[in-house]
């Protein structure tokens, strides 16, 4: 019973395989829910971990996201921006509620520091001399709003319509926000590589 540990779950973003699993999930099929959890976990965890103070808090947020998805799946339709956008919309609200229930808002500087430190340890920073390190550092300089739109587009793989649905904005506004965020990212990246 259940998917063996370590067995990756890969299926095309919104293809027929995902649709089949979601159809089973609507009927509360436990195996379907396990597949969806395993499929979405890495990306949701990364999204939550960039915004919450610990691995445990991120795991709590992802668990809560999946449980709310189970509650709400009867109202999900494919007429929106797709399943991933719907799921990220739930995750986003869970993370925001965690901030509010903690009684504090995370200041931009704290988020930036966490983002730049989280992905690499000191040894990684010493030995890795590729552009990824500089890009991550430049990314950490962006505002939370810029970070979110880029993360949902490139890491979560959502379309502009998907980001719009997840964040409650218009698709056109998302595209414009993405363009500006990339412009600012490019500016920060140039500063980082110059050593400013």
């Amino acid at each position: 019973m259940g998917t063996p540990a370590g067995e990756g779950v890969r299926f095309e973003s919104e293809g027929p395989e995902l649709r089949s699993v979601v159809a089973r999930a609507v009927r509360a099929d436990p195996q379907a829910w396990e597949l969806l959890y395993r499929r979405s976990y890495s990306r949701l965890f990364a999204y939550a971990r960039r915004r919450l103070p610990s691995d445990t808090a991120a795991d709590d947020a992802v668990s809560e996201t999946m449980l709310r998805a189970l509650d709400r799946i009867p109202s999900f339709t494919w007429q929106g921006a797709g399943f991933d956008a719907w799921l990220y919309g739930i995750a986003r609200n869970v993370v925001l509620e965690t901030y509010r229930s903690d009684g504090r808002a995370r200041p931009t500087a704290e988020v930036a520091e966490h983002l730049s430190d989280h992905a690499d340890g000191p040894l990684d920073r010493l030995v890795r001399r590729d552009s990824h390190v500089e890009v991550r550092r430049a990314f950490s300089e962006l505002s939370p709003e810029d970070q979110e739109v880029l993360e949902l587009r490139v890491v979560a793989g959502l379309s502009a319509e998907g980001v719009a649905e997840a964040t409650g904005r218009a698709a056109g506004a998302v595209r414009m926000a993405q363009s500006r965020a990339l412009q600012r990212l490019r500016g920060h990246y140039e500063k980082v590589t110059r050593g400013d």
Binding site: G6, G8, R24, A119
Partner: protein, 215 residues
């Protein structure tokens, strides 16, 4: 980095963390929560508020499911203690009818078998099929004995019971019915919405005429 697409591609690689597996206990709790929905729809008392933290909420749901299972098993054991078993009834019964149910012409192909065993308490109707879809939580299939002249406006049918397929899509159910198949000579299976309406309001998915053996 020349273009936005190239920058996005590098960013995607830079931000993509290691592939991770979710904690096994969290997966198990989500599965338990899903299973609980196939048993019965959620109630306020059963499922904690979304405001409860994720780990605690999953743990509370899993505990509620476990408690419900224990109660069901205890109740079933108490019920069976002083009553003849179904096996005893079947062993002492007489084959009354056997029929093959099929889907209406314009519906997806599905078949089932139904066997009626007359016993001292009526008859046990055994329905077997692997062809029925798993319905959304709260909905169910219902077996009817249908009499002459039955219409939605003027129903002439008696329910023999309700069921839903197991998680593998198999239905192997035994229903007890005191209905005389000679007076209600047609079996029908409908997919009901679970809205509390006792009349048949759902779609017929399987049906067959009953020919009582031995006249």
């Amino acid at each position: 980095m020349a273009t936005d697409d190239e920058l996005m591609a590098v960013l995607a690689t830079a931000l993509h963390g290691d592939d991770r597996e979710p904690p096994a206990d969290r997966v198990a709790s989500l599965r338990a929560a899903a299973t609980a929905r196939t048993v019965s729809p959620p109630t306020v008392a059963t499922f904690p508020s979304p405001r409860t933290s994720g780990a605690r909420r999953l743990a509370m749901v899993a505990a509620a499911v476990a408690a419900a299972v224990v109660a069901l098993v205890a109740g079933a054991a108490a019920f069976d203690r002083d009553e003849p078993s179904e096996a005893d009834l079947l062993a002492g019964g007489v084959l009354e009818f056997e029929t093959r149910l099929e889907a209406p012409e314009d519906a997806a192909t599905a078949i089932a078998t139904a066997t009626g065993i007359r016993t001292g308490i009526g008859r046990i109707v055994q329905v077997r099929t692997d062809d029925l879809a798993i319905l959304p939580a709260g909905e169910f299939y219902e077996v009817w004995f249908v009499g002459p002249g039955d219409t939605p406006e003027a129903p002439n049918r008696i329910s023999a019971g309700t069921f839903h397929p197991d998680e593998d899509g198999r239905s192997a159910i035994d229903l007890t019915a005191a209905v005389d198949p000679a007076r209600y000579p047609r079996l029908s299976v409908t997919a009901e919405p679970g809205d509390g309406e006792p009349r048949a309001t759902g779609t017929e998915v399987l049906a067959a005429d009953i020919e009582v053996l031995g006249g």
